[in-house]
Amino acid sequence: MTPTDPTYLALRMKAVESLLIEKGIVSSEAIEAITDAYERDIGPMRGAAVVARAWVDDDYKRRLLSDAPAAVAELGIGGFGAETLVVVPNTARIHNVVVCTLCSCYPWALLGLPPRWYKTPEYRARVVRWPRRVLTEFGLTLPNDVEIRVWDSSSEARYMVRPQRPAGTDGLAERELAALVTRDAMIGTGVVSNPAS
């Protein structure tokens, strides 16, 4: 495929789709069921609900860290990546970051489709080797005594970070807490901050 302009690729995709429909491999409705699900219904709000629940409920947090697939199923969350989910907790001493150096594995069921930068060679190549430099590009500078743990998703396990709860949020309800949790905080390229402070 030498021509790489978007118009050409769009028409090539259309050609392949039409052939696969005729051969009974796919259908337009099935394709649209997938694109609707991941562009409309499934996104980082799911992961944020899980994080907020773990912040307010210690028993839930323990279940989440020991058996994430079962714990997210309690909140009605399943699908690609949920069945092999592992949640890694940030602490005052350890900051976790998720990557897939070989392709772009990502917990779709919890965070939706990955952002475009997550799939670039720049992120995949550099965050394993120079995590501090890469996090600085995201505006995140961590204290020198914090160990950065970069999780390379090379198997079917899908990693998600449980960020630290920001100080001064004791009075917030679970739903308000969930609204503070960003996608990047669950990838590990960000942290959750308290907007009131």
Partner: protein, 255 residues
């Protein structure tokens, strides 16, 4: 004991972990742009093709990894997916390369031609099942227990892909020939290496193995670590005495 840096073994252009010479992460291309419609359809068609068995993810990966390195790095992410969709359709005998090129020529000449309509409720149902429940997991345990436990010191092997019968692996180049500590034991997973090499379905325990980043790259920060998931056959027991295995990546194990 000392590992020579020259033992670093990269398996292909996809195996980018640690690659130097790339610029800052291009974050600006992200949310403002979103996915063009054709990329969404490439994603949707790929997932639908998984439900009908035409494409399995390990094969999709192997097809993409076989791309010439220059081509791999110059293609967009979903461009690779479209390429793999075509290759998998051809390999499965669903279409021929000539059929695809002929249809592409027709579509370029007549871009507004209507899409054929085939209602296939069974495909739609299978796709909805995948969205809701994901893919079936492998066995919960194997006939034998896991060979390693959390805290064990392990040595990672080298994988020779150019040797006979191993065109694909999930072991990154940077993780080969290292000493690390088992951080967690995952459930058994399909070993993609043998599936691609011989079509055999084998399951192995998988371990999250913690490496000291500085042991892999001399210019890395001393206190950072990288944790990589490795199948049991990628690992062997290390002969080092394990006085305090949790601390080993913090020490220089080559001394």
């Amino acid at each position: 004991m000392a590992e020579m840096p020259t033992m670093f073994k990269r398996n292909g252009a996809h195996d980018v972990g640690g690659m130097a010479g790339l610029g800052p992460v291009p974050m600006a291309i992200d949310d403002a742009v979103g996915h063009p419609a054709w990329e969404s359809r490439a994603l949707g068609a790929t997932v639908a093709a998984v439900t009908t068995g035409m494409l399995v993810p390990p094969t999709q990966r192997a097809v993409i990894e076989a791309l010439h390195p220059v081509v791999y790095l110059s293609m967009g992410y979903y461009e690779r997916w479209l390429y793999a969709l075509e290759r998998c359709a051809i390999t499965a005998g669903v279409v021929t390369a000539d059929e695809i090129e002929a249809r592409v020529a027709d579509t370029l000449a007549n871009p507004d031609a209507p899409m054929p309509v085939h209602h296939r409720p069974e495909i739609l149902d299978a796709v909805k099942g995948l969205i809701a429940h994901g893919v079936p997991r492998g066995p919960e345990r194997l006939g034998q227990p896991p060979r390693f436990a959390p805290g064990d010191i392990v040595r990672t092997k080298r994988i020779e892909l150019r040797g006979p019968g191993r065109p694909h692996t999930r072991m990154p180049g940077y993780a080969q020939a290292r000493v690390g500590v088992v951080e967690m034991v995952h459930r058994p997973m399909l070993l993609e290496d043998t599936l691609i090499a011989s079509g055999q379905t084998e399951f192995e325990y998988v371990y999250a193995v913690r490496l000291r980043t500085r042991d892999v790259w001399a210019d890395a920060e001393d206190r950072d670590t990288v944790i990589v998931d490795l199948w049991e056959s990628y690992l062997e027991k290390d002969a080092l005495p394990a006085s305090n295995p949790q601390d080993v990546p913090q020490q220089d194990v080559s001394q």
